[in-house]
């Protein structure tokens, strides 16, 4: 189960332990934009949809410039890993635009129609003021639509 991350880390570090992000960043804390609960929801949604489908879902939140589609496609090309099998969800809350970009391999499993349906569900949540919930629901829809290959199901 997802539970709230603890903002105050317990001091269990040894001399070999690297500093946590909460120790390093003093000026802009990690939960400046989203709370730790929301970050945990985003994290779980991204990681689980990527693991279950074998596609690589990344989420970009920020300004997309004047030509939002071109910018989103350029970001997708730089999203790391293998862009053919990656899906980029780019949300620009200031411009009220969401773009979903799928690579060539990913678009075979995620046709544009499925992406449009997920985008519709996301924009409905965004318009209602629920940014994180919309993203999580959109990821869930995309992941369900892409299916879960049998090769990725680990025997327990």
């Amino acid at each position: 189960m997802t539970r709230a991350l603890e903002a105050e880390s317990h001091d269990t570090a040894t001399t070999h332990t690297a500093p946590a992000r909460t120790d390093e960043i003093e000026g802009s804390p990690l939960d400046e934009i989203f709370s730790f609960q929301e970050l945990a929801r985003l994290d779980e949604a991204l990681t689980m949809s990527s693991r279950e489908t074998g596609l690589r879902f990344t989420l970009y939140i920020g300004d997309l410039g004047a030509r939002t589609r071109a910018q989103a496609e350029e970001l997708h090309a730089r999203s790391g890993g293998n862009p053919t099998d990656s899906v980029l969800i780019a949300v620009s809350p200031g411009q009220k635009v969401v773009e979903v970009v799928t690579g060539a391999g990913a678009s075979r499993r995620l046709p544009d129609r499925a992406c449009a349906l997920a985008v519709l569900s996301m924009t409905t949540s965004f318009a209602a003021g629920d940014l994180v919930g919309g993203i999580v629901n959109g990821l869930r829809q995309l992941s369900d639509q892409a299916g879960h290959p049998a090769a990725l199901r680990h025997p327990h």
Binding site: I33, R51, L59, D63, T68, R78
Partner: protein, 151 residues
């Protein structure tokens, strides 16, 4: 025989007023109790809420203009896979700035992991800086698909 007057008991002994008259309360006391005390409660609560020094969080709320730097979240790499059938994906990066993607975990990617990624990339491409993290070069992903929505 005259019946004796009943003895005053309890607090009645102290009150030497005639029967049927309550102790007098001034207007100032009434106002103090029925207006002053509620006002004091309201003021105390307002001070507790609105005084600075509490949680200073300027979290993003939908509808506000987005004046934060762009953030890019990527999934956790799957470390538990037994067979190395696929190389570990490099980190995403924003082309304009030098900021790499945040994995949303509390502990950042360590330099050793980063070095393995960059060395693998530099082996593949034949060039590349050592140690410094370079943004992944754009890879052509074939015909792109997707969707767009506004709200």
């Amino acid at each position: 025989m005259a019946t004796p007057a009943p003895r005053a008991v309890g607090a009645d002994r102290l009150n030497q007023r005639p029967a049927g008259k309550l102790s007098s309360v001034t207007v100032a006391e009434t106002i103090l109790v029925f207006v002053g005390i509620p006002l004091a409660v309201y003021v105390l609560l307002a001070l507790l809420i609105f005084l600075p020094g509490g949680r200073k969080r300027t979290r993003y709320k939908p509808g506000q203009p987005w004046d934060h730097a762009p953030i890019w979240y990527e999934p956790h790499p799957e470390n538990v896979g037994a067979g190395g059938h696929e190389p570990a994906p490099g980190a995403a990066a924003v082309p304009g700035s030098s900021s790499a993607a945040l994995g949303s975990s509390m502990y950042p990617e360590q330099p050793e992991e980063r070095n393995t990624d960059t060395s693998r990339a530099s082996d593949a491409h034949g060039a590349g800086g050592h140690g410094a993290h370079v943004a992944p070069r754009p890879v052509n992903a074939g015909p792109l698909g997707g969707a767009r929505g506004t709200w």
